[in-house]
Amino acid sequence: MQHISLKIDNIINNRKENLPFIKKTLENINHCEKIISFLKNTKTKLTIHNKDNQYLDIIEKLDRISLDNFYLCYKNYEQQLIKLQKRFSREEIHISFVGRAGQGKSLVLQNISGLNSSVIPSAEGSDCTGAKSVITNIDSDNTYAKITFFSNIEIIDIINTYLENILYNQNYNIHSIDEISNIPIDIVRNSIDYSKVEESSRLTHLCKYIEHINEFKDYLGKTIKVNEYEIEQYVAQYNHNDTSQKYYKYLGVKIANIFCKFPHKDTGKIVLVDTIGIGATSIGVENSMLDTVENDSDAIVFMFRPDSLRTRISTDEIDIIQNISQKITPEYAKEMLFWVINKVESGKGENVKCIPELKQRIDSEKYPIADTLVVNCASKQEVEDKLLIPILNRISERINEVDKFIIDNTNKLAYQLIEEFNKIVLAINSIHINNYNNNIQREMNPIIEKTRDIGLLNNIRELYLHKYKDMREKSCKEFENAINETLYTLLTFVPTKETVITILENGRNNQHNTLEDCTNILRINIINEFLKLDNILDKIVISMKNDVIHVFADDDKGKLGNIVEYNNITPNQWINLFLEKIGETEYPLISTSLRAFRDFNFSVKGFLIFEVRNELDIIDFSLRKQLPILNNNLENLDATSEEIVEILMDNMGRIYDKLEDNICSFYKIPNRAMFAAIKDLYDRIAFLDNKNVQNEWRYLYEEFMRDIWPDKYENHASKKEIVDIWNELKRYLNEYDENLFFIRID
């Protein structure tokens, strides 16, 4: 027997060698699924960018391509690969024990594992196993178990399943663990009449949950480690010595992993999987069994204890065999499903006599089973010799073949997936998206030129032609009013009689000096007053520059406000920010033009002050041929001061008249200056360097098109993105190698 454990080790190792290929195949098909997801994303993107319905046709075509079949095949194949991966990842060989309740499963497990009925509950002909157990052979004398409990949600689901299968359509559900103990049992019970046997039985089970939830609810969602002597209370329904002592924790146990040293030395790395007896009235027992058979078993042992009074095989047995066969495929069942006839040699249930006939019947029926084993399950030796060793031998001899067969079967699913994938590729290949213009500059060129020529240059032209040109011949009303306001103040500069008296009284001046001193002060005051007009000129300049910058910045004109927003800043600040943003050295001609315009300013000193000064000779004694003659002197201060004021007032009046008469010729000057500034700007931004400045404008608009036409730019970018994505998708689809779908084991 030495060789069995070695063979098992080899099997486990061989399987692990296959794992990378399975993993690779999984990766491959996941990648394939990603390509299909990419297709779905592409469709979503097309829908988002389909503002002008330019992709409508493509979207409709894509809508007609069904991905459902692909995903069905994909999920199926992926699931199989994951199962395969799990199978080949096992560290042991799994043997599952199935059968109706009371067929001797637990007895066999006790005999193989060496565990007694305190760990593996068994009672003659009764339903004593409460939870699924997995018994693992370990190389240690210390027996223990890891008990894994259901989660809260799983328990709630179990309770709701009971409720649904008792009350059917009455739509009563619970949503939390705490609600379980509050389920109105009497009401539920009263809703069932005596004809409903199954429902009544389910209610009994449900009542166990309701009454005993508090015994295990604290364990839910946990895994605990317990020693050998404690195991029973988690897996059995009652104490094996005293059946009156009931256990209920098993209700919350999902699986009990028991670890112990099997007495047979050459058993090797095997795991025994006990399932709850079929026929138990607990819900989901059969499904749970089939699930274990499919996903957690290398070999399946179907336990059957015939009744001596009834030698025929019942529908129950046939159903179980068939269900298992369907689940794992008949071919697999033929290799690894063992029908064990539990031979009871004496006592209650003795059945020795009927066994030969029964075995013959089974053998003749060609059931999808590997072998029929007749075993006295109460005999440890027989269990070893007639059950364990033949099964292990079979496994060690045939499992590789079985694995291969499973791989082949799995690969068959790949063909279905390829077929569906190819259908999609074919459909996608028949769809064409127009190529986009790779050069956005070229595409935007007409818009850029229109903005430059019409939006910017022509609007500046319109500004000087229609607003500032005609204004040249008109008075600048603001300036005119300001000048008039200035003139109005002139006479107020003439000192009062009292002031003059004060000057005369200080003794330093005679009447002639006083008069001259007054004229000196008057001249300064007048000039100062006229210099204040610069404030108005500043405003006029800013207003004109504002007109111009609006043409530059406004969205219906030059659009350059999209580069630097023209809001709450002065025109000059805008120009500075704009120059900074575009980089002055990048656009030398534009920069020169804008700087010249920015620096444009003009003041009264440039054109008015010297004209005003020209009219002040009368109060400038250094320029007068004849000085005014005063008829009074210091002896009569009152008369002298009055005379001085009168002279000053008369002189100032004459200055006033002259200024008023002559100054009107200056009213137009601000308007002319404004026109000149705009015209100069236009000449520069339109004609500088043999019109090369216009190329600079084009480059500038090109550079900042993303800021200026974000929608158009985005649209172009998205068009490019769509086409790129589409081409990429096609490339992925067409370049995908069919061979990648298969598990290729070297």
Binding site: L491, N631, D650
Partner: protein
């Protein structure tokens, strides 16, 4: 022509001009100046009646008072003593005669009217009649109002447009026959500033021609050119006092006369010190009038010699013409003899003078 020993020649001079623009002062100064200028010649001028004499006396006193002014700048209150604001028309009568010839005088009747009558429809017939009767129309112009502030107060003061329109409307009835029958003199007064300080009388002349251009071009056309003698004859009635400025409030606004919306002109002595009155060119209007009369008569006499038809036409005329009346004067020839002297004194080109239409060729022999 048979001379009437007692016959004098009466000439009607209609004085047009704005209210208080200095018409009486002008008359006073014309009178004084003519006497001064021609005192040593054979010509002499006297007020015809006592009323005129009194007015001239009072006005002269008032003018002289101006020169006693101690203020630096001052207003000149015009026509204070005259009754032009009393609501009726006034006649100032002067007699020009040849010394030693008591018979055959030229009587100049200056007709003045209240300024308010201008533009008043009620007095339409007054002006129609006076314009038709007038031999000479003398348009006095208060020069500062014409020249200053771009003339924006000119209409309020000088009524230039109204006067021009009035003349354009009524002259048609006043220009009789083919002969010259009217003289129009533009007489700008208070021109001292433009004559002395600014030394720019030609600017004044151009300004008059610009402001009255509609009237001038109306007369200067084919129909009237040969019937109307027209000239600009500036006079300086004060000489040493010149316009300084229009009075202003302390905030620089121009003050206005509340009833007539005219600015208030202020005057100063030209060099800041009071001087006596030094009128110049004030005799010129009278020289123009006399020469006009003499020339007109001479031309008529010459024509008479040239064409019987013309004489016939003249004789046929119901109204006895000035030309005829002139030569009926016993002193007619004496006046004619003065014409050279008058011509030699006549200003016609300098100092803002210009003869605009000159059918009689005043300066020619």
């Amino acid at each position: 022509m048979k001379k009437d020993k007692n016959k004098d020649l009466e000439i009607n001079v209609l004085m047009l001009g704005g209210r208080r623009c200095g018409k009486t002062s002008l008359l006073t100064t014309i009178y004084n100046s003519f006497d001064t200028t021609f005192g040593s010649t054979d010509l002499t001028i006297t007020p015809t009646d006592n009323d005129t004499l009194n007015i001239l006396f009072d006005k002269n006193k008032e003018i002289l008072k101006l020169f006693e002014n101690k203020r630096h700048s001052f207003a000149i209150d015009e026509d204070t003593y005259l009754s032009t604001s009393s609501g009726s028309d006034n006649y100032y009568k002067f007699t020009i005669s040849i010394k030693g010839k008591p018979r055959g005088k030229i009587k100049l009747n200056f007709i003045d009217y209240p300024g308010e009558w201008l533009g008043n429809k009620k007095y339409g017939s007054f002006f129609t009649e006076k314009i038709q009767q007038a031999d000479v129309i003398l348009i006095t112009i208060d020069t500062p109002f014409l020249m200053q502030k771009s003339g924006k107060n000119n209409e309020a003061k000088n009524h230039s447009y109204q006067i021009a329109e009035l003349l354009k409307t009524h002259l048609e009835y006043g220009l009789n026959g083919d002969n010259v029958s009217k003289m129009i003199l533009f007489v700008p007064i208070k021109c001292e500033r433009y004559y002395y300080t600014e030394n720019n009388m030609s600017k004044l002349k151009e300004r008059i021609k610009e402001v009255y251009k509609n009237l001038i071009s109306h007369i200067n056309n084919e129909a009237y050119r040969n019937k109307c003698e027209m000239a600009i004859t500036p006079v300086l009635t004060l000489g040493t006092i010149e316009f300084s400025r229009f009075d202003r409030t302390s905030n620089g606004k121009l003050k206005t006369n509340p009833t007539h919306e005219t600015f208030i002109p202020l005057y100063v002595f030209r060099d800041g010190v009071p001087h006596e009155q030094q009128p110049i060119y004030c005799e010129q209007p009278l020289i123009y009038i006399l020469l006009y009369l003499i020339k007109r008569a001479e031309v008529a006499r010459n024509k008479k010699k040239e064409s019987r038809f013309l004489i016939f036409k003249m004789l046929k005329s119901a109204v006895v013409s000035i030309e005829e009346k002139f030569f009926e004067m016993p002193s007619a020839d004496d006046f004619v003899k003065q014409s050279d002297k008058l011509k030699s004194r006549l200003e016609s080109q300098r100092y803002g003078y210009e003869i605009i239409t000159d059918p009689l060729k005043l300066k020619q022999k």
